[in-house]
Each structure stands twice: as C-alpha cells, then as structure tokens.
C-alpha cells in the first residue's frame, strides 16, 4: 500500500468512524420508519399490499 495511505489509515480513529456510522444508520432507520408510518402514506401502503391481487386471473 502507498505509505501515505497507510499512514492516513493508521491515524483514522475507529471510534469516530464507528460513531459517525452509527448515527448515519440511525438517521436512515428513522427516515424509513417515518416513510412507512406517516399518515400521508397510509392509503398508498394499503393499496401496495393489494398489488399481488390486481392481476385479474392467471395463466
């Protein structure tokens, strides 16, 4: 590995990296929970759940 890169990698503080990652993940999680549960999307969710049945017969 390039010595400069190696040095940079060694100086990264894993605590920071993991802390930031955790926050990013929590933010994502909250975002998709909001997306799923916001009342605005209620009707859309119910319609979406019925999509497999909108087929009108088989073959």
């Amino acid at each position: 590995m390039n010595p400069l890169l190696r040095e940079a990698a060694a100086s990264v503080q894993f605590g920071w990296l993991m802390g930031v990652m955790t926050l990013v993940f929590i933010a994502c999680f909250l975002a998709w929970v909001w997306y799923a549960y916001t009342p605005k999307h209620r009707q859309m969710m119910e319609e979406a759940a019925r999509l497999p049945f909108m087929d009108g017969g088989e073959n």
Binding site: F14, M18, F25, C28, F29, W32, V33, Y35, A36, Y37, M44, M45, E46, E47, A48, A49, R50, L51, P52, F53, M54, D55, G56, G57, E58, N59
Partner: protein
Amino acid sequence: MEQSTSGTVATPASRPDYDMDIVKKFFTATVVWGIVGMLVGVVIALQLAWRPANLGLPWTTFGRLRPLHTNAVVFAFGGNVVFTGIYHSMQRLLKTRMWNDTLSRIHFWGWQLIIVAAAVTLPLGLTQSKEYAELIWPIDVAITLVWVVFAVNFFATVAIRKVEHMYVAIWFYMSFVITIAVLHIVNSLVIPATLFRSYPIYAGLTDALVQWWYGHNAVGFFLTTPFLGLMYYYLPRAADRPVYSYRLSIIHFWALVFLYIWAGPHHLLYSALPDWAQTLGMVFSIMLIAPSWGGMLNGLLTLKGAWDRVRTDPILKFMVVAVSFYGMSTFEGPMMSIRAVNGLAHYTNWVIGHVHSGALGWVGMISFGMLYWMVQNIWNRPLAYPSWASHHFWLATIGIVIYTVAMWAAGLMEGLQWRALDDAGRLANPIFLDITHRLNPFLWLRVVGGSMYLVGAVMMGINFWKTIRGPSAPAGARVEGV
C-alpha cells in the same frame, strides 16, 4: 379483477401478454437441477459415512463432488427457482411483459450452459478453490455477461412498468440483482495464467476477508433476499390474503440489506483478522435477528385467520415450515456469531446443520410451496396426484429434522471433545481420528434424512410431469385451492 383508472378502454383483452414460456423454461430447469443437486448431496453424505462410496476414482471423490453439490443446489436449483419466480411475478406486479424476450432467452440458455460447464469442470478438478466461487475464470466471465443481460432486461422492465408503486417483492429482487453482480465481480478478480489457471489479485488476509464478505452475502443476497421476495408474492397469493403489514416489510427490507453487508467477518472469528473487524461482524450479525424476524413474523401473521387452511393445504404447509425454519436459522446464525459460541461451533458439523436448516428448511420448502402453486396456475390444471404433495411435505419435514438434529448432535460432540481436558490439563482426546470415528452414526442418520428429502423432491418431479402432461382444467375454471 383489473380496474380501469383512466375510465377509458380497459377490456380484459388489454391485459398484458405476459411471457409465460420463459417462466415454464426456468420452472423445468429448477426441478431437474434441484433433483440432481440433492442427489449429489446424498452421494457426498454417503461418502462421509462410508468411504467406498468415493469409488476410488479422482472424479468421484468427496473433494470434487462437494463443490458440485453446493454449486448445483445454490446456483442451479436456487438460481433457477428465483428466476422462475422473478419472471412470473415481476411481469404481473409491474403489469408489463418482460422488456426483451431475446435477452430473457439468452439469460436462460446462458445460465444452463454455465451450470453444465460447472458440472464438467468441477469433477475434473478444475477449481479456483474459493468456496461458492470455485468456478474457473472463463466461467466467471460468462456468469458476468449473462448476469448483465439479466440485469439490463430486469431494470428495463422496471422502467417500462405500468404500475407506479413497486411492490416490496420487486425491491427484494433488485437487491439480489445488484448485490450479486457486485459480489461476484469483486470476489472473482484474478489474473489469468492459462485457460484453466489463474491467480487472485488479493493475498493473505485481504483474500480471506473478500472471500467471506462474498460468501456471507451470497447467503444474504442469493439464499435470503430473493426468497423473501418470493415469500412476499406467493404466500399472500396462496393464502389469498394480503401481507400482514406492508409497512413492516419496507422497514425490515432496508434494515436487512443495510446490516447484511457488514456481517461477513463472523466467518473469520479467531482468525488473523483484526479484533475490531471481528467485533464489527459479530455486532452486525446479532442485530440481524431483528430484520430477519420481522420477515418471519410478517410471513406467519399473514396466515392469521387462515390456519384452518394451513392444516389441509400442502402449499401453505410448505410455506409455514419454510418461514419457521427461516426464523430458526436466523436465530441460530446470530448466536453462532458470538465469539465464544463460534469457538465451539466452528469447523464442526454444527455449521453444516445450520446451513441445511436454512437451505433445506427455508430455501427448499419455500421453493416447493411456490412450485406447487405455480404448476397449477401457469398450466391451469389440478395436480395429478394431490396426495403426493402431502407425502412430499412430510418426507421433507421429517428428513430435515433428522438431518439437522443429527448434525447438531455431531457438532456439539466434536466441539466438546476437541477441547476437553483431563485433570492434568492434557487433551482428553489426543487422537483426532477417534473423535472423527465417533461421528459415524450421525453421518448415517444424515444419509437417511437426506434421502427422505430427495425422495420427496423426486415425487414432486413425477407429480409435475404427470400434471403438465395431463388434461387442463375447463376454460374459465379456477383450479381448486389456488
């Protein structure tokens, strides 16, 4: 019934002309390769219990047939079953025919050709010796090309869809198409030396980490997410009720794909991998229980109110057992990711038990349920031997239990005996081979359980053959129970 939203022309004739031929092709390939792969599984199980079954020929020894088994069941059976379900359900969910029929056919024949190439090269001993990525570089190139063809067709079909919202199954399929492409390409990067030989561009620990990043996500994105997609389409269809919680399906989808990618290091615990990376893998693996069980609960709760039908309908029975085994193996997996537990389980038959509770229980049973539902629907006729479906269900279920319980017992025994010390602190079982010999009764039990599972699959094959060649239901009639 289809409803017209625009108020203008929406006659029944306007229903898209789905490409059913490609579904039937993949369906047939699934059943054929499934039986072949499981047969090889029984053969290698026999070889471990009874040495002469290696036949003394290089091409038929365990070392060469084992990768043939894993490739056949995962990529030939598992791959084809997922493609069958994707081509069938995505056209319906998106209300459009596949974008390009020629690409679908290139995908089909290309994939079968790759499988044949694998079946020839592996017994010849041509291998890259990376687990689940054994195939030599020319075949790897072919896989990449065929996958690109599939991906282009897949996303073009998504782009021309007639339905705005993409049902959650499509998201699960997308994660499969994208992730497998990335995993396959990154893990297969090699420098070819000759037609049959190559050298990986990674070395040492990096090689191991890339390999298990790949290996674990092959489990996550080949044996889990596409099958969850199938569950989200076929379980509601078979139970005739919408999924219990669509919101939960969205949340657990995103959580699952976010977490899975980081869990690979649980295959490298106590290795030279830095401790922090091991811990990272362990923590993400334990968190994986939540989204996994989200999927399981959503599947089981969808059947709320339909339990009377579960008792009589073999399709639902297959699906319930599948989802239950999914729950069990995704509880067991996180437990095995805990360093102390892994210290006991690693290298033992416990791992093999875990693998097959996922593979036979989850992947196999959800596939069987889907196939039984589909054969009656796309060929529009009832099963030739309905009672055989029930026999198959029981053979498979009892077979899995025998297989996995035998492996758990064998694995615990091995793990405990390897580490046991006597009063003086010396190994209580200094001769490794002694412990290996003690495994034999369990290995025979696995032959029995595996054979039951195989016999069930063969019965399914005969049943399908007879069904497809039998008379179709009268026009307009719906097949009962479907």
